[in-house]
């Protein structure tokens, strides 16, 4: 099957001091697909996904070489603020803003960027995005209360709603369920399946079953190298590299 690419990584190399965390990786991510990046801890998967929306800028010690093409531009050379707006990110631990209500949290991207909206626009953005993540019915009664009283799973969905509200083209998920219980995890996984219709999703996971359940493509990273990248089906049924096979079988075993 031929797919449109949304992001193309070419010869990406990321290092901290003399330490190479990502070693010359090239791969393309496809539109309206879920791509899982997996690998043992320390393989560089989080570093890779953070580079995709320039989060590595926050730590000056990261040095990045190569290019990441998005929308015909190398995003490593674009304004990080514009990049982050189009490529949203959700983190391991749910982190709703404690000073804002649920309502304000959904609108946080607009509030933070100083974008003025009318009351109607605000209401509709909040409604649409809370509905998308299935929170609308659960929180509609106390939408103006702080988000911190929600359960972990609800908080994480609120964070996804907050990111979706900015209408990103790519959604990055960095182990989005690692802090959640199985039930909340299932909800998020179902949500990911729904969301890929409108946004391309790239997620990091250390949970192999999760990768097999939700992703269309899987990339396996090991010690900063991209060992294997293919459709999830191929990776999980006929892995080409021995290391991939070992990783999968050890975890399955």
């Amino acid at each position: 099957m031929k797919k449109d690419t949304i992001l193309t990584v070419e010869n990406l190399e990321i290092s901290v001091k003399k330490n190479k965390i990502i070693k010359n990786i090239s791969l393309s991510f496809y539109k309206n697909n879920v791509t899982a990046i997996m690998g043992p801890s320390g393989c560089g998967k989080t570093t890779l996904i953070r580079a995709l929306n320039r989060m590595h800028d926050l730590d000056k010690s990261f040095k990045v070489k190569g290019s990441i093409t998005f929308d015909t531009q190398n995003l490593l050379k674009s304004d990080p603020i514009l990049v982050r707006q189009q490529i949203g990110m959700v983190f391991q631990r749910p982190n709703p803003f404690p000073n804002m209500s649920i309502y304000e949290n959904v609108l946080a991207g607009y509030i933070l960027n100083g974008i003025k909206l009318s009351k109607d626009e605000k209401d509709s953005i909040v409604d649409i995005n809370l509905k998308k993540v299935g929170l609308y019915d659960e929180v509609s009664d106390n939408i103006h209360r702080k988000g911190s009283h929600l359960s972990g799973g609800q908080q994480q969905r609120l964070c996804i709603a907050r990111t979706l509200a900015m209408k990103p083209k790519v959604l990055l998920l960095d182990e989005p369920t690692s802090a959640l219980d199985p039930k909340a995890t299932t909800r998020i996984e179902n949500l990911i399946n729904e969301l890929k219709k409108e946004v391309s999703i790239i997620m990091v996971t250390h949970n192999i079953e999760q990768a097999s359940r939700v992703s269309d493509y899987t990339a396996f990273l090991y010690l900063g190298d991209l060992i294997e990248y293919n459709t999830t089906e191929t990776i999980f049924t006929v892995p080409k590299d021995k290391r991939t096979e070992e990783y999968l079988s050890r975890k399955y075993g």
């Binding site: 603020i81 514009l82 707006q85 189009q86 607009y110 960027n113 100083g114 974008i115 900015m166 209408k167």
Partner: protein, 296 residues
């Protein structure tokens, strides 16, 4: 895609933040320059002799800091000695015995109250209530009943500085690792023995730092002391004597001093006071810092 208004404020904000970092340094530097520059006349005219001259007679332009340095040390040392039994007791009581008990709130509130009463009110109360009592005692002892003097100042000061030593002291004692305490208890030690052989030795430097900083506090305290010390510019011969401290003589005379040398020598007293307290604070902080970093 949503259009974001370009925020020019960002760069400005970062520059303002960096600027305020420099402003803080500049304030301190200006402070020091102001004091040094304005003490210059006194330093030049009176030289080092200023520190040892035991006379302070503004009328004859004879200025010596010795009575005030001695007055300050005497008052503060006495205050510290009076305060130690109390501050150590409370530190141990809160930090060891009442660790997780509700009752410690009573004592902590007591400390907050003592620390919160303004200095001028301590002074006023001292003048109105404590000094008359001292007068009676002095009369009964058959010595000149000044009332005001080093004793009155030290008693008030002791009360004022206890909360300062306790703030650090109780935390330091609380930091004593529980496994050490439990090991000692397991060997059959009584709480007294645990405190004497484990807790106190372990927290000695921290307790010292706490009391050192309280001592610095006593040295720099102005109003309460000014109001009860009697403001006499001689070297005190006993703790019953009226005297003056570095801070109290400034508070008392700076407003009326007009002769340039007089003003300058008062500012030099301030500079001496600043140097002493800053050294004490730095030593105290270094000890505390070493303490918290030191692996157990």
């Amino acid at each position: 895609m949503i259009k974001i208004p370009i925020a020019k404020k960002n760069k400005l904000f970062i520059n303002i933040l960096k600027l305020t970092g420099y402003v803080a340094i500049a304030i301190l530097v200006l402070f020091l320059i102001t004091l040094i520059f304005n003490s210059f006349l006194s330093i030049k005219t009176l030289s080092l002799q200023f520190l040892f001259n035991t006379n302070w007679q503004p009328n004859t332009k004879n200025f010596g800091a010795a009575p005030f340095i001695i007055g300050t040390l005497l008052t503060s040392v006495l205050a510290l000695m009076i305060s130690i039994p109390f501050s150590l007791s409370i530190s141990i009581y809160i930090g060891y015995f009442l660790k997780n008990k509700k009752r410690k709130n009573t004592l902590e509130t007591l400390m907050d109250l003592l620390a919160g009463i303004p200095s001028v009110i301590y002074g006023f109360w001292g003048l109105m209530v404590l000094v008359p009592v001292i007068i009676k005692i002095q009369a009964w002892l058959g010595i000149i009943p000044y009332g005001v003097g080093i004793l009155a100042a030290s008693l008030i000061l002791a009360l004022m500085i206890i909360p300062y030593s306790v703030t650090l002291g109780k935390d330091i004692i609380n930091l004593v690792p529980n496994d050490l305490v439990e090991a000692a208890i397991g060997l059959g030690a009584t709480p007294y023995e645990v405190i004497k052989h484990i807790a106190i030795p372990y927290s000695l430097s921290g307790l010292f730092a706490g009391h050192l900083m309280a001592f610095g506090r006593a040295i720099s305290e102005t109003m309460a002391v000014t109001m009860v010390i009697g403001n006499r510019n001689f070297i005190p011969t006993s703790i019953m004597d009226p005297a003056n401290t570095l801070a109290s003589v400034i508070a008392n005379e700076f407003g009326e001093a007009s002769d340039p040398l007089y003003v300058s020598s008062l500012i030099e007293l301030g500079l001496i006071l600043l140097v002493i307290t800053t050294i004490i604070n730095i030593i105290g902080k270094l000890i505390v810092k070493a303490y918290t970093i030191e692996p157990r």
